[in-house]
């Protein structure tokens, strides 16, 4: 079930028997998978398969009905994500995420967006505002460091010259990259990306692949990726998990998934011939002029 066991404990993130119900609706039904350091694990599946719900459980927006979400943090040991409050997951467990429909702070500048991601650190440095209000050196230095880190990610995402723009005024592709940069500024051990390539043109998609590979290889963190764009998924993922109607129907390397009959069926469905109702048949014969 789980990925090859490491010497020290299990994989970076392991999801076991995750189930999520909304009233009578079962959005996720007993899904288990795992993801590892320096690996990109893609979660794919048709619309409504429950992919985003998995992310919402992982990042604390929903409390799972059943299931265990273990993060094997390199520095902090085992953490049970389902027991943490929403904001603590990024703050304490260092799990970052992006959103399907980009969620930046649109009226704030690009740089501010990145500084905000380092909030907790800066908050401590500012002595919970007291030192900051008194204008102490300590806070000033910490802020400088935060700007340095922000600048590094601005460089990586090609946004440096637009650092002082309002985030809401950036073009769409830039906003996507900024959201990733913001997530990286919390210095995560696990990054969850919800359809990062949605709405990007092929060139931007290729750049995104480049960026994600860079994050994986240089920063050696785990990435979870929800994506519909197969050119992204097949090219950069190390492993793929396929969901359909809330169930895991397949898992494996991109090559294994490509030829899996269950996956093909889930995506294409079965075709059936059906007689057209009379009204519709008439509509087809006499199109509206």
């Amino acid at each position: 079930m789980t990925a090859p066991a490491h010497e020290q404990g299990g994989p970076l993130i392991s999801v076991e028997h995750l189930t999520m119900r909304f009233g009578g609706l079962v959005a996720i039904d007993d899904v288990s998978f795992s993801g590892d350091n320096s690996e990109i694990t893609a979660i794919i599946g048709p619309n409504g398969a429950g992919k985003t719900t998995v992310f919402n459980c992982l990042t604390g927006f929903y409390k799972p009905t059943v299931g265990r979400l273990t993060l094997n943090h390199p520095a902090k040991g085992e953490l049970l994500l389902e027991r943490m409050e929403g904001y603590q997951i990024p703050a304490h467990a260092d799990v970052a995420r992006t959103f399907q429909n980009i969620r930046l702070f649109p009226a704030m500048s690009v740089l501010e967006n990145l500084i905000l991601a380092q909030h907790n650190e800066l908050m401590r440095a500012s002595g919970f505002s007291v030192a900051g209000l008194l204008g102490m050196r300590r806070y000033h230095d910490a802020e400088q460091k935060a700007v340095e880190r922000a600048r590094y990610w601005l460089d990586r995402t090609g946004l440096t010259t637009r650092a002082d723009w309002d985030a809401g005024n950036l073009p769409y592709g830039d906003q996507r990259r900024l959201e990733i940069a913001r997530a990286m500024c919390i210095r995560p051990v696990l990054l969850c990306l919800d359809e990062p390539a949605a709405g990007l043109n092929p060139k931007e998609s290729a750049e995104l692949n480049e960026l994600l590979r860079y994050i994986r290889d240089e920063h050696q963190i785990g990435l979870l990726l929800i994506e519909h764009d197969m050119s992204v998924v097949m090219e950069i993922s190390d492993r793929i998990i396929v969901l359909d109607y809330g169930r895991k129907i397949a898992a494996g390397t991109p090559d294994e998934i490509k030829d899996n009959p269950d996956v093909i069926r889930a995506y294409l469905g079965e075709t059936e011939e059906e007689a057209l109702p009379e009204v519709v048949a008439q509509d087809l014969e006499h199109p509206v002029s």
Binding site: F22, G23, T52, N56, F61, F99
Partner: protein, 304 residues
């Protein structure tokens, strides 16, 4: 026991009035997702139009009471609806796609405006009206405490029930009701399939205002005095009723109104009348904290 029954009757009457106002809150919330804070003032305007019409009828010499009440009701509903319509058109329509806070601030501004508009035009003094419907049934004559169910209370309760029935029919059976429910689900989509969204929303405000107008009339007849400030408290209590019943739900609004009326009645009777408003606010806070969807509301799942 007798005292209890009397409070039950009084509380129910009050609850009917709150329920009628609450319908306006709940419908507007259902359709455009904003709190029409100025709705209480629409109620107050209804009460003022009623008192003016009553006085005019008195001057014109319309003495037969049922006819007088009917005329007053029609005139009040008509003229107050214009306010409801204008309110939406002037203050809310331009803000339909703005942040919620902007719309709420507009609503508060409108509420302040209408209050002072009526105060300037009609004066700040309390306006009294002679009882229109007098007399009533008396029960339990033999005990120390005689329970009275006045004809007025019967009238209020019956009229509310009739209005509610008509209203439910409108929402469930007519094209307007269908359009309204469609807009509740998705404004953009409703527009795409050819529903005149602007008109539907306008009509929602008109209907809500008409209900509030009747509530104003009932309030006037029940208490016999009004002033330009009555809309504020009644508005908050009716809003509490709408939230308690589950905002967006019509039966919920009526149920909530009834509960608030009863709570207020019993609270004043058994505890302290001074703190009855505090009781209403406390309920609002408690409901919002522990059951934000109210009694009959649908859960609201956060989309991320």
């Amino acid at each position: 026991m007798e005292y209890f029954i009397q409070q039950l009757i009084n509380g129910m009457t009050l609850g009917m009035i709150y329920g009628l106002i609450a319908i306006g809150y709940t419908m507007v919330y259902g359709i455009i997702g904003m709190i029409n804070f100025a709705h209480g003032e629409i109620f107050m305007i209804g009460a003022f139009v009623s008192i003016i019409t009553f006085l005019m009828l008195g001057i014109l010499g319309v003495g037969w009471m049922p006819l007088a009440v009917l005329i007053v009701m029609i005139v009040t509903m008509l003229l107050t609806s214009v306010y409801g319509w204008a309110l939406e058109r002037v203050a809310y329509r331009p803000l339909r796609n703005s942040p919620r806070l902007a719309a709420l601030i507009t609503a508060i501004g409108m509420s302040i405006f209408l209050q002072n508009y009526v105060q300037l035009l009609q004066g700040a003094r309390i306006k009294p009206l002679q009882p229109v419907i007098a007399g009533g049934f008396r029960f339990m004559q033999e005990s120390d405490f005689v329970v009275t169910l006045s004809y007025l209370q019967v009238f209020i309760i019956l009229l509310t029930l009739i209005l509610m029935a008509v209203f439910t029919l409108v929402i469930n059976k007519t094209a307007l009701g269908r359009a309204q429910r469609a807009c509740q689900q998705d404004l953009g989509m409703a527009a795409l399939i050819g529903i005149n969204v602007d008109r539907t929303i306008s009509l929602t405000f008109v209907l809500g205002a008409a209900m509030a107008a009747v509530a104003g009339l009932m309030f006037l007849m029940n208490y016999g005095v009004i002033d330009f400030y009555i809309g504020f408290l009644a508005g908050i209590k009716a809003f509490t009723a709408a939230v308690l019943g589950g905002i967006g739900s019509l039966p919920g609004a009526m149920l909530g109104g009834l509960l608030i009326g009863l709570i207020e009645g019993f609270w004043s009777a058994y505890f302290t009348v001074e703190y009855k408003d505090v009781a209403a606010f406390s309920i609002l806070v408690l409901v919002l904290i522990f059951r934000p969807t109210g009694l009959l509301g649908k859960p609201d799942i956060e989309k991320v």
